[in-house]
């Protein structure tokens, strides 16, 4: 029989990465429902399936299409990410993703890269428009939500008031509540343990999801994989999505500007050259 205050954990694979949900005084069924929700959302937001909701939006050729409440929320979040990052976290980099050969899940291999076709990404506000229940992607353009979806999902999983849970989706995580001992959730961060309480953390790196001399982190200013002097950035921020946005932005800014940007937007950070 489970004792009160004990951490219940559930681990699973989704979105091509390892995911975990932890909770205090929650049932196993609750954690399994969390996994089910993650899988439903991942199927909705993936660009790798023609049947996903995102693929339908990208195929709409400039027409307004109906979107689910979750898709609407995530699309609005992508617009906020664009603003918070001064345009560096730009969901409109899908053409560049395809140009570098990232056309399917990496476990299935990459396609031949056609870097000469890569172009700087357009402003996201020129590509994506969102209205209540509807969205439109400009003709000839496409959006990729992979840059913020995991952080957003971690935030949503832990959003219910009063819960004492932690969701870690491929390293993008959010901790809600006071944790196992009442002083926060202990999370490994930059070689130390930090106690997170209603906070998020994320890591962005050019060393993972890389092949040959290419990697998946596109600099929208060039449309090509980022050539930053930083290899990895880890960040603690107010939410999982904010942490994801700040980590990516800092990595793209490079060592000159990243410290000041992190100081303004993060609560803890680790910049690895």
């Amino acid at each position: 029989m489970r004792r009160s205050g004990e951490v219940e954990a559930h681990h699973f694979e989704a979105m091509g990465t390892a995911c975990s949900v932890f909770g205090i005084d929650v049932t196993r069924t609750t954690l399994l429902k969390a996994e089910s929700w993650v899988r439903r959302m991942a199927a909705r937001f993936t660009r790798f399936s023609d049947r996903s909701e995102l693929a339908q939006i990208n195929r709409s050729e400039g027409a307004w299409v109906s979107v689910s409440p979750e898709m609407e929320e995530l699309l609005r979040e992508s617009l906020r990410a664009f603003e918070l990052s001064a345009g560096l976290v730009n969901a409109a980099v899908l053409p560049s993703m395809l140009a570098i050969g990232y056309t399917r899940p990496l476990r299935e291999g990459t396609s031949t890269a056609t870097l000469e076709s890569a172009r700087p990404a357009p402003r996201l506000h020129d590509v994506l428009a969102v209205r209540p229940g509807r969205a439109r992607v400009a003709r000839g353009c496409g959006v990729d939500l992979g840059g913020i979806a995991k952080g957003w999902m971690a935030d949503r999983l832990t959003a219910r008031p009063g819960v004492n849970v932690l969701a870690n989706l491929g390293g993008d995580l959010r901790a809600a509540g006071s944790g196992p001992a009442g002083d926060g959730w202990p999370v490994g961060f930059g070689g130390v343990t930090v106690m997170l309480r209603d906070q998020g953390a994320a890591t962005s790196s050019v060393r993972r999801r890389s092949w040959g001399n290419l990697h998946h982190l596109i600099d929208p200013r060039t449309g090509l994989p980022a050539r930053s002097a930083l290899e990895e950035v880890a960040v603690v921020a107010a939410s999982g999505c904010d942490a994801e946005i700040v980590a990516k932005t800092a990595l793209l800014l490079g060592p000159g500007l990243a410290p000041a940007y992190c100081a303004a937007h993060a609560q803890a950070w680790w910049l690895r050259p």
């Binding site: 951490v7 490994g188 130390v192 343990t193 993972r208």
Partner: protein
């Protein structure tokens, strides 16, 4: 006459408040003890690359972490 005095009083009050506010803001524009300042000032030295920076908003612990953030 009474109306004129009321207008004069209101105008004086407005001008006085404006001047006092401007003086207060000018005097407090750079407060070195503001919560975000230490981290921002430290970052301007460029010394945080390769180092871990933790602001007062995050507490360190000495227990085993249940999970960690990582690149995926």
């Amino acid at each position: 006459m009474r109306s004129f005095l009321l207008k004069l009083g209101a105008t004086a009050l407005t001008l006085g408040t404006t001047v006092a506010s401007a003086m207060y803001v000018t005097a407090h524009m750079k407060n070195p003890s503001a919560p975000l300042q230490p981290a921002v000032l430290a970052s301007q030295n460029g010394g945080t690359v390769g180092e871990l920076t933790i602001t007062p908003g995050v507490r360190q612990g000495d227990v085993q972490p249940v999970t960690s953030t990582y690149a995926s």
